[in-house]
Structures are given as structure tokens and as C-alpha cells.
Amino acid sequence: MIKAIIIDDERLARVLVKEYLSDHTDIEIKAECNDGFEGLKAIQEYQPDLIFLDIQMPKINGFEMLELIDKPPAVIFTTAFDEFAIKAFDNHAVDYLLKPFSKDRFDKALEKWRVLFERKENPPGLTQVMEAVSHSQIQRERIVVKSGSSIIVIPVDDILYLEAADDFVKIHTRKGHWLKNKTMAHFEQQLDASKFIRVHRSYIVNISEITRLDPYEKDSHILLLKSGEKIPVSKTGMVKLKEVLS
């Protein structure tokens, strides 16, 4: 049996997917989830072959949920997201279904997935989907990280600064710091450039947290944050800082 999970915060939307799936007797619905948290748990528990995923959901959206999974399963997005926004990752997801979708359209999406599944091909890279999303205009309002078994949602305004740490990025807030396996370049691109600035190869700073800028040796400066931390500023970082602060 093929294992599938439906993740959507609207019961009727899940009912519809279930009904459309009833013809496909080889697919078993292992779980129905109300939100991303339930989705994460169910994915860990059942290791599904395929998930139907809504994008706009409580607390963490569909993309943010996927980010937290090391090896995400194949995904068919079901969303009322407007076409313009979703075109950005047209080529990367198995498929996406724009609500309301027809049975024919649904079957086509499944067919597309079956071809990939039978060829044992990996679904189109989800990392690519995520990249595509980050290139679209959807701006980051929060960052979702995993800490042990719990999930932490960090509003971007709470971030003091980001620090490069090997293959991870360390996210510093007043409540502590968390690791996320992304690159500095990724965050530099996703965060609002009028609020965050990369002052150094290894540091991105929340501009509203800056309290003082002092010279330090020649060609370099040091930033003092409201929280007391000191952040080095490179020569190019200084140029960017001047641009934003002036």
C-alpha cells in the first residue's frame, strides 16, 4: 500500500481530497492533520510516500513545515494561493492543485507522481522548491526552528543577530539562540534588507538593535548591540551600514 497524509486546516478541504482518493484503492490515508505540527508528527510516525499539503495554515505554513524535515516526502500542494505566487515553483513540486480543483486535475497530479514513484525517481528536489519560494516575493516574517522535539517559531523582529556556525546559522534572540541548517546567503536574501544587514561574512544584524558603532583597529569597526553583544564589522559591511544608517 502507498502511504499518504493529508495536511490542511480546513476539514472540508481534507474531505474533498479523501473523496478524490477513494478511487485510488492502492493509496491508504494514514493520517489527516489540522496543522503543520500535527503534520510533522504524522510524517515522522508513518514515513509517507506522498503528502497533500496546504500552504496557509496556523502557526507554521506548509513551506515552513517542510523546512523542518530532513528528508521530506513527495508533496502535492493543495492551495488557494494565487497562481502568480505559485508559478515560482512550478517546475519543482510534484504538482500543485489550485483550490477548487476538479477530480480530473487531481487524478493528473497523482498520475504525475506515480510515474516518478514507479521509476523510483526522487521527487523533484524540495530544496529547489524552497529555493524557489525564497526567490519569490513571499517575505519572511518568522523563522521556524527545531529544538529537540519541540518547534520554535521566531518572529523576525525578535532576532538580534545571526551568526555563521559551520554548516549552520546561529539565530540569536533575547531568549537564547537556535541553530538552523541554512546558509548566511539564504538569510541575507530572505530577510527584509531595510531591517537586517550583513555587516560581516559571519554576521547579519537587526538594525533596530544597534546602539553604537566604534572604530576598531584599522579598516574595521565594532558594533555594540542593545543587548550588550559586540559584533565585528568588515570594510564592505561598513559601506552597507553607512548606506542604511544615513
Partner: protein
């Protein structure tokens, strides 16, 4: 068909007292001439010649000015032009008089004796005409500009209001249609009911004039259609409470104002928490002002109150500004995991 040279006499722009003044002036001229010893017939012909040509010169001058307006500070050009026309006027008048009287009675030579008086007088009169015309033109231009600006602003405002109204979230519409699609399979009766509710809601948003104020009661009817649909979509997760005081029920409110505020509250509540969402809508009337509060739960841990509350309220804020010229009608506050939106709408009665 038209005679552009005389077009200044049309459009009521030609004051009717001018011919009277002209007649008076011509009479005066005749009288002065008789006083100076000319017989009445000669004086009258002379005066008529001068003044008919002077009127013609004035019309000519105005026509020139219609196509040539001296720029700011270029009034020297205007003076030169007036002077030249005065001179031409005098030469033409004298030529006609010279021919008519064959140099007998009017004066001894072609130039006559009066040019020292007549040319300056003509210059003054024509100068006044030119000045009045130019000033009137400037004033008209300015008035036109003010009108155009006001028109443009009005159009822009209407267009903007229209756009703001159109920003009914397509999400809502598509998700509702998806719910109906699901209900068709499981509960056709409810599906039909939801189609009817959705249609009624859409009709309500279409027919409203955005600048129109409607009684709160009517606005609430539209709002309850919206809430019923959302409740079918989100099921038990969404609960609402509407409390309206007796005095507030007839108060006036801009049409379709509450729905986006409540929509924002629902979205904020539904997407910021995973539990049940209780939306409270309260209204009462105080000091001739309609107070409405809409509150929704949110998670203070993950939603910073400093963050904007999404597009919904920004457009409501803008709309209220366009309608009332004030920025303080809508206010928001966060308290104990409750996000509260308040609007205070002045009542006129």
C-alpha cells in the same frame, strides 16, 4: 461659419457694458471736438472714425494676445505691442479722415495737431484692455488648474476606494468554493445553502457604494453572511459573539467597513493560534460617536504586536482617511493575548 476674429464676443465673455462705454466715449470725443470749434457733423464723423478704428484695434490686440501671451516679467513686450498698435491706429484714422475731408476742414496737414494727445490716450486705453485681458486669462488659467487638480484628486480617490473595495480576499472566495466542492459529495443540502450564502454575500459587496454610509444593522447583516460562510469552512474552531447596544443599531457606518476588519481578526486568530478562535464584536454609542471593537486571540510569543497586522487593516485605515480625512478612527492594541481593533465613527445627528 464662425468668424474667429470675433470669437471674443461669444461665450458671455464680452461684458455688455463695453458698447455703452464706447458710445459715451465717442459722444464725449464729439463734444470736445465741437468745443474746439469744429461743426457738429465734422466732429461726429471724426470721432466715429477714430473710435471705430480704436475698437477695431482693441479687438485686434486681444486676438494677438490670444495666441501670444507674454511670459512672466515680459510686460515690456506688451507695452511695445500696444504702442505699435496705437501708432498704426492713428496713421489709419488720419488716412481715412484725410481722404474723407480732402484736407479741408479737419486739419492743415496729414499728421494733424492732435497726435500728441490722441496717441497717448489710445495707448492708455489699449494698454488697459491688454492688461485686463492678460490678467483675466491668468486668472482663468489658475481657476482651470484648480478645477483640474480637484477633478484629478476626486478621480484618484474614487479609483482608490474602488480598488480598496475590490481587495476582497480571493483566498476567501476560492477556499469557500473548495468547501462547496467537498460538500457537494457529502452534504448537498448544505452545499446548496453555502452557495446561496456566498452569492448573497458577493451581491452585497458588489452593490454597495463605497462612499455611502449605511445603518450599522445593515452592515451587520452583510457581516453575518460572511461569518456563516467562515464557520462552515473552519467548523467548531471559529466562534463569534456580536453584542450591539440598542442605541448603536441605527448609527451610520461606511458600507463594507466591518467585514475586512473582522476578516483580519479571523485570519490573525486562525493562523496565529492552533486552538479555538473566539471573535468578539461589540458596538455602542457614546457622545454621539459609534464605538466598535473587534477582538481576536493571538499568541504574544510568536506575533510581535509591533508587526503590522497584514494588508487588511492598512487598507481600512487608508479608506477611513479618504472618507474622514483623519488617521485616528482606527486603532489597535494588544492585551493579554487579545488583539483588539477599535473604530470610532463620528455621527452627525
Amino acid at each position: 461659419m464662425t468668424f474667429p476674429f470675433l470669437s471674443i464676443f461669444k461665450n458671455n465673455r464680452f461684458p455688455s457694458w463695453i458698447p455703452a462705454v464706447w458710445l459715451l466715449w465717442t459722444g464725449l470725443h464729439t463734444w470736445v471736438a465741437t468745443e474746439m470749434g469744429y461743426n457738429l457733423r465734422v466732429a461726429a464723423i471724426e470721432s466715429l472714425t477714430y473710435n471705430l478704428l480704436l475698437a477695431f484695434a482693441a479687438v485686434l490686440l486681444i486676438n494677438i494676445l490670444k495666441y501670444y501671451t507674454p511670459g512672466k516679467g515680459r510686460y515690456i513686450n506688451l507695452i511695445a505691442l500696444t504702442m505699435a498698435i496705437s501708432f498704426i491706429w492713428y496713421v489709419s484714422s488720419r488716412s481715412i479722415l484725410y481722404a474723407l475731408f480732402n484736407n479741408e476742414t479737419v486739419s492743415e496737414n496729414f499728421w494733424g495737431n492732435e497726435y500728441t494727445i490722441l496717441i497717448p490716450i489710445a495707448f492708455l486705453i489699449l494698454g488697459c484692455v491688454a492688461l485686463v485681458f492678460v490678467l483675466m486669462g491668468t486668472m482663468e488659467d489658475r481657476e482651470l488648474q484648480i478645477h483640474q487638480k480637484a477633478d484629478a484628486e476626486k478621480l484618484a480617490r474614487e479609483a482608490e476606494l474602488f480598488r480598496l473595495q475590490q481587495q476582497l480576499q480571493p483566498h476567501f472566495l476560492f477556499n469557500s468554493l473548495n468547501s462547496i466542492s467537498a460538500l457537494v459529495g457529502t452534504d448537498p443540502v448544505l452545499a446548496r445553502k453555502m452557495i446561496q450564502q456566498l452569492s448573497e454575500f458577493l451581491r452585497g459587496t458588489l452593490k454597495k457604494d463605497d462612499q455611502q454610509q449605511i445603518p450599522l444593522q445593515e452592515e451587520l447583516r452583510q457581516l453575518s453572511l460572511y461569518l456563516d460562510i467562515e464557520k462552515i469552512r473552519f467548523g467548531h474552531r471559529l466562534q463569534t459573539e456580536i453584542k450591539i447596544s440598542e442605541s448603536a443599531i441605527d448609527s451610520l457606518i461606511p458600507a463594507l467597513l466591518l467585514q475586512p476588519i473582522v476578516e483580519n481578526a479571523i485570519k490573525f486568530g486562525l493562523y496565529d493560534t492552533t486552538g479555538d478562535v473566539f471573535i468578539q464584536i461589540h458596538a455602542n454609542k457614546e457622545n454621539n460617536q459609534l464605538h466598535i471593537t473587534v477582538s481576536n486571540p493571538f499568541d504574544a510569543e510568536t506575533a510581535s504586536p509591533t508587526r503590522g497586522t497584514g494588508f487588511g487593516l492598512a487598507s481600512v485605515q487608508r479608506r477611513l482617511y479618504l472618507l474622514f480625512g483623519r488617521n485616528d478612527i482606527l486603532q489597535t492594541m494588544a492585551k493579554d493575548n487579545q488583539f483588539i481593533t477599535t473604530i470610532i465613527i463620528p455621527q452627525h445627528d
